[in-house]
Amino acid sequence: MSPKAYRRRLDIKNGRVDLSHGSGGRAMAQLIADVFHEALDNEWLRQGNDQAAFDVGAGRMVMTTDGYVISPLFFPGGDIGSLAVHGTVNDVAMAGARPLYLSASFIIEEGFPFADLKRIADSMGEAARAAGVPVVTGDTKVVERGKADGVFISTTGIGVVPAGLDLSAEKARAGDRVIVSGTLGDHGVAVMSKRQNLTFDTAIVSDSAALHELVAAMVAAAGSGLRVMRDPTRGGLAATLNELAQQSKVGFRIDEDALPVKPEVAAACELLGLDPLYVANEGKLVAIVAPEAAAVVLAAMRAHPHGRDAAVVGEAVVDDHRFVQMTTAFGGGRIVDWLSGEQLPRIC
């Protein structure tokens, strides 16, 4: 009897995930086939192995892994599925690497609607196809109701670094320029606008995007003129620069007037008592670039759709204390410190 003879498609519209979908039996095989394989289809997944075998070119390999636990799962401009692709592609790309393959692990809460799961898987597949980085292997687990928040996704990515390129967080030097690829805080504000108890109307959508092609353009333009790249996700630009200051043993001095922030994001932050410098981004990068390469990198970035608002916002300086300092729009000075705990809305 052909396997198809007993297969009945999942009731995507009305059905829900139950514990049998994680038990390793027929229900799980059906879930994987009808939701994940259909959405993420490629030659490696189709082989149905517990791993994927593939050729890699010569050079240094990059590997990264990340967990996605975002709430809400769907937000203006994206969802957890596309985010899990973009975030991991970007972590690979920040080494200057070309991302090649992804793996994905899903932890699903009992009772989660098939329709939402399919929406997430479809979005993930679309993001992977658009990026040209297939999800070649994966895993599915179902946990009891109350033991997860809908869906958690972990993705691992690998890629290859072009010969001669060696970007790393300890390579910033005094005099290097700090470039951001676009406006700050869009993702964080978009997500917050849909949080429980905090729904507000905004035209802001998440900037979630895969940046490897922007990175490739930057590498082509500057090569070894690039010192460090990092995507300023949680903790925003402030956390990223503080991390790099520690790792590279320099300080940074940025200019408030030069920071690109959309007026709507600034307004939402104002309302909530937040600082855009600390708000998360998912489709932006920070590049630390040798001074002589800054102009050519900036031009290459601005020629790419994901970098058209790129701006030089400051420079690395000699500083034993590793402070990130900012010249305010007033002409005064202040520190841009690490965030203390989560950024919480203030009482007044």
Binding site: H321, T328, A329, G333, S340, R346, I347
Partner: protein
Amino acid sequence: MKYVNEYRDGRLARSLAETITRIADPAKHYHFMEFCGGHTHAISRYGIEDLLPANVRMIHGPGCPVCVLPVGRIDAAIALAERPEVTLCTYGDLMRVPGSHGTSLLRAKAAGADIRMVYSTLDAIGIAEAEPERQVVFFAIGFETTTPPTALAIRLAAQKKLSNFSVFCNHVLTPSAIQNILESPDVRSLGTVRIDGFIGPAHVSTVIGTEPYNFFAEEFAKPVVVAGFEPLDVMQAILMLIAQVNDGRHEVENQYVRAVTPGGNARAKAEVAEIFELRKSFEWRGLGMVPYSGLRLKEAYAAFDAERRFGIDYVPARDNPACECGAILRGVKKPVDCKLFGTVCTPETPMGSCMVSAEGACAAHWTYGRFRDHARRKAS
């Protein structure tokens, strides 16, 4: 951002700074206290200190509602939240405030207490309506600005006959705290702290008006300028205070004319007066017991008073004895004068009130201004 960017114009700021430098008499020293944490935050965040001449010193006062809430009240809120039937609703920035023995609402939540962060008192009412089996307690704190929304929630709860909603009231009054500072021995008799004038809090004055400050201007012969929280507001207020000192005047002036009137908001005041009454005494973190400085629910609304409903007995708790917050709040000392500052006491591990909230004097200096200490040390 219309009506915001206009008050953050860098060119205007530099021009105001030039005027301040021009009219500040080099032979004089000017010491002004900004009472409110919102002003402290603006001064630090925009680097206003760098724009002022050396003979103009800003003293950061106690006006941050999160900072001045005493440890014992945090302990009481945590104890309330740990009751199995209680859902405690709180504003976000209270979550990290330390109670006794390293506790906080954030830690109590992680340990299983039902604590929910809300953005308004009406969110708490909504939770009480949606979950009638829970006892929903709103943890109310703040100055005159946040009191009317609490009053509104209590009135709504009464109208809706909600039997599972109550308020743990910790509202405090600005004028009482200012009086306490001006009457402290350091300021009044010892003369160790010089205060030549006050910047009054704008948001508070949108409710109470400017009239309550007339007493200070007359009794203590101190100029008061009620000012907004935008950086240009603060700079203009400094300019107005310098002008008063130069002229030998001590009047109440209103910089925040776009929202503040002499009499304030009559409707909000009436709402608060209907529901709240003065406590004989209320403890402030850093200032101790301050007479007639806090509010509680009137007898008519006792059914919504969490202190009565749950029989909360207030037990004061001590701050770290090495903490200099009391002296810093009165302007006797600066954050760097405290030996805990930046050592065991940082925003991650705050020991005293001034480090607790982002608007406290120590937290503002640590977060935005501590590079100046290193620069000064290097220079000396």
